[in-house]
């Protein structure tokens, strides 16, 4: 079908649960509960919408939104207002949702991300607070059980400005790139869990088409119940041609909500009553205006952290890593921390990147990463000094990661073996590592009071006895001369 001559306009709406201990308007525990057997375990008269109850706002959810707003450069409105959105549904206990309408806490802002090495951005319209609904467990007879555990959980709604694409642009991917970046930002800032499968990060695109160059917007369709990025992309890529085809054939397009039908591979109307969309918003009379203080805004700013976009940019600009590598590291807080720690001790950026994406990730994915960044530092130093070759280095790292303890040291206490010792133990080199030797000598000194007393009394032969103990502990791989030097220095004998 010929889609040239058309433009696609997409706006993305994200609902993300906020990481707090309690719900938005009551102090019930806010947590993900999936089993029907645990339905209604975290409820109270307030989140059940009993007669006579009143909402009380969770101050931490405001704080979390302010952190996001600070990071994304939003305008924070010191005074904002809550509103009621009125409609009937079994999972909406009060028959209205408390949200923000005319006066949200934050407007504007930008989410920046990389795609294929270049930076892009999506402008935001607004970010505001609201509350989540309960859940329905559908029964075989067509009815449902209502679980209000999720009712009242704090939600943040993040809405983008409409973005215009040509039909031959990868608009589906552009949306996924933005959403994934936003998701990571929320996780890294400690604002949300960002887990789409668990349902605490939900995306609803609004999509319309129009003839290229036109300024008026076409009929807008909202897509819902897209529970993965790939579903979202498929749904968009189906919907755009559907709308164009309708226009071309003179068929009428309805402003409606559609869902993705996986079996049929198409979007389908969600059946609803005709007059459903009049939400009759009005200011929530039970909540005075929210006034955000300068202090709250400043405190939020102190909690702003680097996010994957910042890390990616640094890896590209300061370390000239290839984009794919940079991106992979930047998306993992763990790998980002390791990169920083290892490179700061002098290792080569590209080498570190390879090891992080290779061995470190391999062990991490198996759930077996116990080594610390210091261990990698030691391995890479030995490698760089050509004391070991690459395959030996990998073996050393694996053994370091195995959490092996040093057997029977002088004190009888076990400690995690260091790569330098492993290298020595494997007979690959003498144990010259000053820090490791110092540690072993300290142990020997502590364990041999009598010998130490003799040494101090001037019996130089006793020094050799101590050296012997250390040689034994290092299975002969230590450098005896170095050991002797260290012992004499520590005990202050010539």
């Amino acid at each position: 079908m010929n889609t040239t001559g058309y433009e696609v306009v997409i706006g993305l709406e994200v609902h993300s649960q906020v990481l707090t201990r309690t719900k938005q308007f009551c102090r019930c525990v806010s947590e993900s509960v999936h089993e029907e057997s645990r339905a209604n375990i975290n409820v109270c008269p307030i989140c059940l919408g009993h007669p006579g109850v009143l909402p009380v706002l969770n101050v931490t959810s405001v704080g979390k939104l302010l952190i996001l707003a600070a990071k994304l450069g939003c305008d924070v409105h010191r005074r904002s207002v809550f509103a009621r959105k009125n409609y009937f549904y079994p999972d909406l206990p009060k028959g209205y949702q408390i949200t923000q309408y005319d006066h949200p806490i934050a407007t504007g802002g930008v989410v920046r991300y990389f795609t294929g090495g270049a930076t892009r951005e999506w402008k935001l319209t607004r970010v505001h607070l609201e509350e989540d609904t309960g859940k329905l467990f559908h029964l075989p007879d067509g009815g449902a059980i209502v679980d209000f555990n999720r009712a009242g959980v704090p939600l943040m709604e993040i809405v983008t400005e409409p973005c215009v694409f040509r039909t031959d642009e990868p608009f589906g991917q552009a949306c996924v790139d933005y959403l994934d970046e936003l998701r990571l930002d929320l996780i890294w800032l400690g604002v949300s869990d960002g887990n789409m499968e668990e349902g605490n990060f939900r995306c609803e695109p609004n999509v319309s088409v129009r003839k290229a160059g036109e300024s008026k917007f076409g009929v807008k369709v909202e897509l819902k119940n897209l529970n993965s990025f790939s579903t979202l992309r498929k749904a968009l890529e189906y919907e755009v041609p559907r709308q164009i085809a309708a226009i071309e054939s003179g068929e009428r397009l309805y402003q409606e909500t559609r869902r993705w039908d996986e079996k049929r591979g198409e979007t389908a109307t969600m059946r609803r009553k005709e007059t459903s969309d009049d939400y009759r918003y009005f200011d929530e009379p039970d909540l005075p205006p929210l006034v955000v203080s300068e202090g709250m805004i400043e405190e939020a700013k102190t909690k702003v952290r680097d996010v994957p976009f910042d890390v990616t940019r640094r890896l590209l600009e300061e370390y000239a890593l290839p984009y794919a590598d940079a991106r992979q590291i930047a998306e993992s807080r763990m790998l980002t921390e390791w990169f920083g720690a290892v490179v700061s001790k002098g290792a080569q950026a590209k080498t570190v990147a390879n090891w992080l994406l290779g061995e470190v990730s391999r062990f991490h994915n198996l759930g077996k990463l116990t080594a610390s960044p210091d261990a990698l530092v030691e391995v890479l130093e030995a490698l760089a000094a050509k004391k070991i070759n690459l395959s030996q280095a990998k073996e050393v790292f694996e053994r370091a990661n195995a959490g092996q303890t040093v057997d029977q040291t002088i004190t009888g206490k076990a400690r995690i073996i260091r790569p330098a010792e492993i290298i020595a133990e494997m007979g690959l080199t003498r144990l010259d590592d000053a820090a490791a030797l110092e540690a072993i000598v300290d142990e020997a000194i502590a364990a041999s009071e009598k010998i130490v007393a003799d040494i101090r009394a001037g019996k130089t032969a006793a020094v050799m006895a101590l050296v012997g103990a250390v040689m034994k502990a290092t299975k002969g791989s230590a450098n005896a001369a170095t050991v002797q030097e260290i012992i004499k220095r520590k005990l202050g004998v010539p």
């Binding site: 009380v56 079994p90 009759r280 005075p288």
Partner: protein, 499 residues
């Protein structure tokens, strides 16, 4: 015991406090009298048995803090205030069988201070009405004449106090629902400043105007009740109560001697009032002048749009507040196989006609296309009304008017004419729109006639600035002193007492 039945709550508290009388014994006697009087009054949806009445009630008075509080006094609680483990219906079928899992904050505070709940008082369904005829169960009667309405929506609360079935009652006032029945029944009815009492546990009608109120036979009793209930509540974001000692303020009423009072012209036009109401208003003004009070006329022009403004805002908020009654979670439950029809069935069967009317009007004024013309305009008028009242109260300390333009009317007389019914609220709604404190005091009787040997009561309304609750109660006490007006035992009740 009979003398005690007509005691003030202040006297009872004092006697319980020094051990001269046992609260349990008194509760028994009061309850027994209430049951005897009930067939003629029907003030209560239910009179509680002793166990229910004493659920959660402390044995000792609340001595914390400096304020004097009620102790041991049986309270009639309007059935739109939640009482834990005791059915609360808001006089609606849709809440039949609803047993709250918690006490309203004001109820809890009364219980913690040692005051039992004698019964759940009748009301207009969800507080919507001015006569208590909109109760889904039965209408309450005016103790002055059982063919007349007691006023509403807190008609049960007012009738209970007026017929000596309880010394003190809790009501709620959204557009006059405590003051109006107080006037019709010849007792004191106080609506505090919006925010003085917690609304947590008060079944919501119009959230920005609802306020718990107190009905009693004297101003001192009202003040004691207020001291017991007025406290900050973290469960109500609109509650701004402090630690004001209202009882102490009331005892210090003499200093109100130099007060300035403004009579609201728009609410006191003789052509708009029943003759006895007008006459008693004038007599009250004279009494005040004789006592040295500067009484002048003030104008609040927007009073002439107050009812329209009130009925747009209250119905808008109510249409939203009542959406939770859907048959899913509590009360009357949904039946049948279809959800969509289920909602409609429950709400159609569960709500009375007046409630349905207001829900529909509220839905209308909020809907797309009409919001600007109705709701938004009403909000503008509301702000302007407050500004006019503030301006008037910058010139004087208190405003006065009749509480009701008419004497109590007959059961069934206005029920088929909603607008006529609404017009009875003309004097009281401005106070709720502005969030100010207002009180109705008995200010005399209509001329006695063959039907009414003592006449029928009228009420004087006093209005003050927001958070001037201590002063308005003190001035009310002052008025009681200088006018000699106060509670009079209705003939029907005298008969009952004599038995």
């Amino acid at each position: 015991m009979k003398d005690l039945i007509s005691s003030t709550a202040a006297k009872l508290t004092e006697m319980f406090g020094r051990g001269a009388l046992s609260p349990t014994e008194f509760l028994k006697a009061q309850t027994e009298f209430a049951r005897r009087a009930e067939p003629n009054v029907r003030a209560f949806i239910r009179i509680l048995d002793e166990n229910e009445a004493r659920l959660g009630v402390a044995d000792r008075p609340d001595d914390s803090g400096a304020r004097r509080k009620l102790f041991g006094v049986p309270i009639a609680v309007k059935d739109n205030l939640n009482t834990k483990a005791v059915e609360t219906t808001a006089a609606s079928r849709i809440l039949k069988g609803y047993v709250p899992p918690y006490d309203a904050t004001v109820v809890r505070l009364l219980k913690e201070a040692g005051n039992p709940v004698i019964g759940k008082a009748n009301l207009d369904e969800f507080g919507m009405g001015s006569s208590t005829e909109n109760s889904a169960f039965f209408p309450t009667r005016n103790p002055w004449d059982p063919r007349l309405v007691p006023g509403g929506s807190s008609g049960g609360s007012a009738a209970a106090v007026a017929s000596l079935q309880a010394p003190v009652a809790l009501g709620s006032d959204t557009g006059g629902s405590v003051r109006l029945p107080a006037a019709f029944c010849g007792i004191v009815g106080f609506k505090p400043t919006y925010g003085m009492l917690s609304r947590y546990g008060l079944i919501a009608f119009a959230s920005s105007m609802d306020q718990v109120g107190v009905l009693a036979r004297s101003t001192s009793d009202v003040a004691l009740a207020m001291n017991t209930m007025s406290a900050p509540d973290p469960l109500d974001s609109t509650c701004q109560a402090g630690e004001t000692d209202l009882f102490a303020a009331v005892q210090d009423f003499a200093r109100l001697r130099g007060a300035k009072v403004g009579v609201v012209k728009e609410l006191s036009r003789p052509e708009g009032l029943d003759a006895p109401v007008c006459a008693n208003l004038n007599a009250s003004i004279d009494a005040m002048r004789r006592a040295g009070i500067d009484v002048r006329e003030v104008s609040v022009p927007l009073c002439d749009l107050a009812l329209e403004c009130y009925y747009i805002i209250n119905t808008a908020e109510a249409s939203s507040n009542l959406a939770r009654y859907d048959g899913v979670k509590y009360g009357m439950r949904m039946e049948g196989a279809d959800l969509a029809q289920g909602y409609i069935d429950v709400r159609t069967r569960g709500f009375g006609a007046e409630v349905k009317r207001r829900i529909l009007l509220g839905t209308y004024v909020l809907s797309a296309g009409y919001f600007e013309a109705y709701y938004n305009r009403a909000r503008t008028v509301r702000r302007a009304i407050k500004e006019q009242l503030d301006a008037a109260l910058a010139e004087v300390d208190f405003l006065v008017s009749p509480t009701s333009p008419t004497l109590p009317f007959g059961l069934g007389e206005r029920i088929d004419d909603p607008i006529k019914m609404y017009l009875g609220d003309i004097c009281t709604v401005v106070v709720n729109l502005a969030g100010m404190p207002g009180i109705s005091l008995p200010n005399g009787m209509s001329p006695p006639d063959s039907e009414h040997p003592k006449g029928l009561p009228t009420g004087l309304q006093i209005i003050a600035r927001r958070f001037d609750d201590a002063r308005i109660l003190a001035f009310a006490r002052f008025y009681e002193e200088i006018s000699g007006h106060g509670y009079v035992v209705p003939p029907m009740v005298e008969e009952e007492l004599a038995k």
